[in-house]
Symmetry: C2
C-alpha cells in the first residue's frame, strides 16, 4: 500500500508499569485509518531522556510523520520537550507565544503561572505550536514530529487539530466477516484468497464463544471493489459458516 506512514512514540512509565491501559494509541490508530495514513510502528519507552531521543530519531527517520504522547506536563518527570530538542539538536526555552497562551489561561482560571507551569511554555527552536483547546499548554510540531499531551482528552483534541494538516492517502477500507469455523480449518482458503488478491491484506482472528470456535476475517485495502470481490469469494466458500 502506497499510503503515507506514521509512527507513534508513547512516553509513559504509567503504561509500562501496568497502571494504565493505553487509550491514545487505539484512538490514533482509528483516526489515521480514516485519514488514509498507515500506523506502521509504535514504541513505548519510559521517562528516560536517552531512551526517548533514541526512539524518536529511529522513528522520525523511518516514517512520514511521528506522533508522541505524554511527558509535556509541569512536573519534574515531564522531559519530552527537552528530549525532542536534543533529538533535533536545537535549543529550547520559554517562548513568548506559548507563555502568553498559558498566562491567559491561568488568568481565566485564577491560577498562578508558576515556575512549574512555565515549563509547559518551553518549546524547541523552530517548532510550531499545536493548540490545546482544553488546558492551553500547547503541543508542538518540529520537522515531521508532532508532540502531544498524554491526557486522553487533550491528546484527542490535538490529533483533531493536526490531522487535517497532514497529507492523507486513499482511505484505508476494511470489511470483516465472522465465520463459525476454527482458524485452522479456513487457513488454506485464506492463503488462496490472499494469493488471488495480492493488493489486499487478509487477517484472521480466532475466538471461542459459548464453546464454539470461530474466526473473524478482516480484509483491508484501498480498493473497495476488490475488497467486495474478495469478501464475496470468502462467504461463497463458507456459506453455512457465516455467523
Amino acid at each position: 500500500m502506497g499510503n503515507p506512514t506514521a509512527a507513534m512514540l508513547v512516553i509513559g512509565d504509567e503504561i509500562l508499569s501496568g497502571r494504565t491501559r493505553d487509550a491514545n494509541m487505539h484512538f490514533l490508530a482509528g483516526e489515521l485509518v480514516k485519514h488514509g495514513i498507515r500506523l506502521a510502528e509504535v514504541r513505548i519507552v519510559p521517562d528516560i531522556e536517552p531512551r526517548i531521543v533514541e526512539a524518536l530519531n529511529a522513528l522520525r527517520a523511518g516514517h512520514d510523520t511521528v506522533f508522541t504522547s505524554g511527558g509535556i506536563g509541569p512536573t519534574h518527570d515531564d522531559i519530552t520537550a527537552d528530549a525532542v530538542a536534543k533529538a533535533f539538536g536545537v535549543g529550547i526555552d520559554v517562548r513568548e507565544d506559548a507563555r502568553a497562551l498559558m498566562q491567559d489561561y491561568c488568568d481565566r482560571m485564577g491560577r498562578d503561572l508558576n515556575e512549574a507551569r512555565l515549563r509547559m511554555a518551553r518549546i524547541p527552536d523552530g517548532a510550531s505550536l499545536i493548540e490545546n483547546p482544553i488546558s492551553a499548554a500547547p503541543g508542538f510540531r518540529i520537522g515531521n514530529v508532532c508532540v502531544m499531551a498524554g491526557v486522553p482528552s487533550i491528546f484527542q483534541a490535538m490529533v483533531a487539530g493536526v490531522l487535517p494538516t497532514l497529507t492523507g492517502g486513499d482511505a484505508l477500507l476494511s470489511q470483516s466477516l465472522t465465520l463459525q469455523r476454527a482458524e485452522g480449518d479456513i487457513a488454506g482458503a485464506l492463503r488462496g484468497l490472499a494469493e488471488a488478491f495480492p493488493g489486499l491484506s487478509i487477517g484472521s482472528y480466532p475466538f471461542v464463544r459459548d464453546g464454539v470456535y470461530g474466526t473473524n476475517v478482516v480484509i483491508r485495502g484501498t480498493d473497495g471493489a476488490r475488497i467486495d470481490a474478495a469478501m464475496g469469494q470468502l462467504s461463497a466458500l463458507f456459506p453455512e459458516a457465516v455467523a
Copy 2:
C-alpha cells in the same frame, strides 16, 4: 532500580489498524511488576518479516527477557516463528514433540491436523516449548525470547507458565494518592519530594472530574518503608487536598 528488565514485541496489524485495543501488553505489565521485573520497552510492528527481525534483535540485545505476542497461528500471515528463526540465524521445521501435541489435540477435538495446523508445530532449532493449555499449539523460548500467542486467553496462560521460570527481582511496589489540586500547583512539591527520595519514582497523572482538577500521584520503588515515608510527607504537604 536494579531489577531485571523485559521488553515486549507485539506483532499485530490488528492493533496498528485500530481494530483491536491492546490487552496483552497491559496484562503482561501487571504480571511483571508482581514478579519484580521491569517492563522497559514495548514495540508494536506489523506482520512484515524484516520489521519483526529488526525489532526483535534490537530488543533482545537490550533487555534480560523479551516477550512476543501474536503471529504464531495457522494462517499465511502468521510469520512470527520464521522471523524469530531468522533473527537467531537458525533453521526451523516441524518438530516431533510439537507435532505430537497438535496431533493429540486434533484427535480429541475431532479435527484434521492439516497443513495449516502443522505450521503451528514449526519450531526454531534449539528452542524449548511453552505449553498452551488451551489449544495445544505451543509457544517457544529461544535464548532470552519467549514467543507467545496473541489470543489473550492463551497469552495469559503462557505467561503464567513462563513467569515462575524467570529470575525476578525485589517486588516493585507502588502507592498512589489522589490530590484535589491541579498538577501545576503541586509540581514544585513533587520535584522536592523526588530530590529527597532519589531511589523512588514519583509520577503524576492529572485528571478533571466533575469540573474539579485533580492529580493522581504514584510513588514506585522496591523499598516499602521509603515509599511509606514519601507518601507520609506528600499527604502532610496537602492535608486538605487528599481525596
